[in-house]
């Protein structure tokens, strides 16, 4: 199986395909409305020299644009989550619970918190699927 470098367009394409292929995702996400941006703060010592902006569009179980993008596009998302590279890697590897990370300030989120909580099963599902994408992490290359 091909491995994809984390937070690149190829990796995002593989992630989107994995979500679309998951039979449990669509019914679980039927109530979700709104795009999500992930902002990864730079960490040159771990192979992330610049901020990475990712935009992902989710709508009632369908997935739309999944893009590595610029800052303006990311900030247009309904939910914008920001964190250091190491934190994102911990979340992707399920070493860090995303809800706990938000409450402890390890990740920041702009957006409607009660909405995210109401749909926490959908959020956990997309994180689960991310764990299935064969990923090359920049600090391990």
């Amino acid at each position: 199986m091909a491995k994809f470098k984390a937070m690149t367009q190829e990796w995002l394409d593989a992630y989107k395909a994995a979500i679309e292929a998951d039979p449990e995702y669509k019914p679980m996400a039927k109530d979700w409305e709104g795009s999500v941006a992930l902002v990864c703060n730079p960490d040159p010592s771990k192979g992330v020299p610049e901020t990475i902006y990712i935009f992902m569009d989710y709508w009632h179980g369908d997935v739309g644009e999944f893009l590595v993008c610029d800052k303006a596009k990311a900030e247009s998302a309904t939910f914008v989550m920001t964190g250091d590279y190491s934190r994102w890697k911990q979340v992707a590897l399920k070493e860090l619970d995303s809800t706990k990370a938000l409450l402890q300030g390890k990740l920041k989120m702009r957006g409607d918190l009660p909405y995210v909580v109401r749909n926490i099963k959908t959020v956990n599902k997309v994180i689960d699927i991310l764990g299935n994408v064969d990923t090359l992490w920049p600090d391990e290359m």
Partner: protein, 387 residues
């Protein structure tokens, strides 16, 4: 209480505590220690009418540049915006809150707007702040919310029809003055309700999926102090020893739940508060034992600690038997402190609980509950049992 080998947590509790009878007279000294020169005092009309502000105003002298007292029982987004605008015009460089949870949470949010500018609805999210906010000194006049030491603020947003939860490590109060005299005039019902708010914080910190050894220790001692001293406060409100110990318990419970967070009791209390305007502490107190019963299979070890704090764990009792004793003790305790036992006693109607059950599922607290909740019908069942 056992902990898994993968236990990991952050504990955050930077607020300095000043305790003692008449310690609130030192407000000017403590304000100066934080670098404050122009204080806006945030309070409510009940505090002013009770005469609790006089010695504070006298101590502050001309360092008090304004008093903002238009704060209702359940504060709102517009209340915060108006307060920040007033404080800005007065040139305040420190906020001093004198009051209960609604006043303290209003002041917390005013600190954000005074530092960052804008309106409260501009701050929609969690842990968004990147720098310390202007100093906030708290003098609680109730013993329950623990808000004097937490990063959270709860503010009603009428447009959303729901309370907004703000959680910001950069906005925790710098200093709290716990003066038992400031709570000595609290009437019985308010003493009971706010005391049960503290009790609920402690129990929920114990059963939260994010509980850890530090918060467990704080919570257990808070329960011990409340079990011993809250009934005394109900019998004799001017007992300053009991008042002081209950204040300390509320602060301990504040640190506990501020880190371990809370669960279903708060989710339900927030929702029924938003819909039927039940005071938060009363709602918590009425719901607590029933929610413990709901959770009991998921966290008997936690409730066994509650039983130990109440002194009802007998030798040879296993955790489940102790947990059952804890639930019964909690029911009996609410009767001892003369708390209303049913939501219908505080004007809640059948239609209210149906709406509240739906709303509770979207409350941030519910994700930390030890028993995973799949459907609003489970929440409705608890509401029905205490209606």
């Amino acid at each position: 209480m056992g902990y898994d080998s993968d236990l990991s947590f952050n504990y955050f509790g930077p607020t300095k505590i000043i305790f003692g009878v008449d310690s609130s007279k030192d407000v000017e000294i403590e304000m100066s220690s934080l670098g404050g020169t122009k204080a806006i005092v945030v309070t409510d009309k009940g505090i002013i009418d009770a005469g609790l502000l006089e010695h504070i105003k006298a101590a502050l002298g001309n360092k008090c540049v304004g008093i903002y007292s238009d704060i209702p029982q359940d504060t709102g987004v517009e209340v915060v915006d108006a307060g920040a605008e007033y404080a800005r015009k007065q040139g305040a460089d420190i906020v001093i809150s004198v009051g209960g949870g609604s006043v303290i949470d209003t002041a917390k949010c005013m600190c954000i707007l005074l530092t960052e500018g804008g309106k409260l609805r501009d701050f929609n999210g969690i842990q968004l702040l990147t720098r310390p906010q202007i100093p906030h000194l708290v003098i609680p006049t109730t013993a329950g919310t623990g808000s004097e030491v937490t990063t959270a603020a709860v503010i009603m947003d009428k447009e959303m029809g729901q309370k907004r939860l703000l959680v910001e490590n950069h906005n925790v109060p710098r200093l709290a003055i716990l003066d038992p005299k400031m709570t000595a005039k609290l009437p019985k019902l308010l003493t009971a309700g706010t005391g049960m708010d503290a009790m609920t914080h402690a129990v929920e910190a114990l059963h939260s999926i994010q509980h850890e050894p530090i918060t467990d220790g704080l919570a257990v001692h808070a329960i011990r102090l409340l079990a011993r001293h809250l009934p005394t406060c109900i019998e004799n409100g001017s007992d300053l020893v009991a008042r002081g110990q209950v204040q300390i318990a509320a602060t301990l419970a504040g640190w506990a739940f501020g880190n371990a967070l809370v669960g279903i009791v708060h989710a339900m209390a927030h929702s029924i508060g938003a819909i039927a305007h039940v005071p938060h502490g009363l709602a918590n107190g009425i719901l607590l034992a029933e929610c413990m019963q709901f959770n009991i299979e998921s966290c008997p070890e936690s409730y066994a600690l509650v039983a130990e704090a109440f002194g009802v764990r007998e030798r040879g009792m296993d955790d489940m038997a102790a947990a059952e004793a804890a639930v019964e003790s909690m029911r009996a305790f609410t009767k001892t402190i003369q708390l209303p036992q049913r939501l219908s006693e505080v004007n809640v109607k059948e239609a209210d609980i149906e709406k509240a059950a739906e709303l509770a599922l979207g409350d941030g607290s519910i994700v930390n509950n030890p028993r995973f909740i799949l459907d609003s019908s489970e929440v409705l069942g608890i509401f029905k049992n205490v209606l």
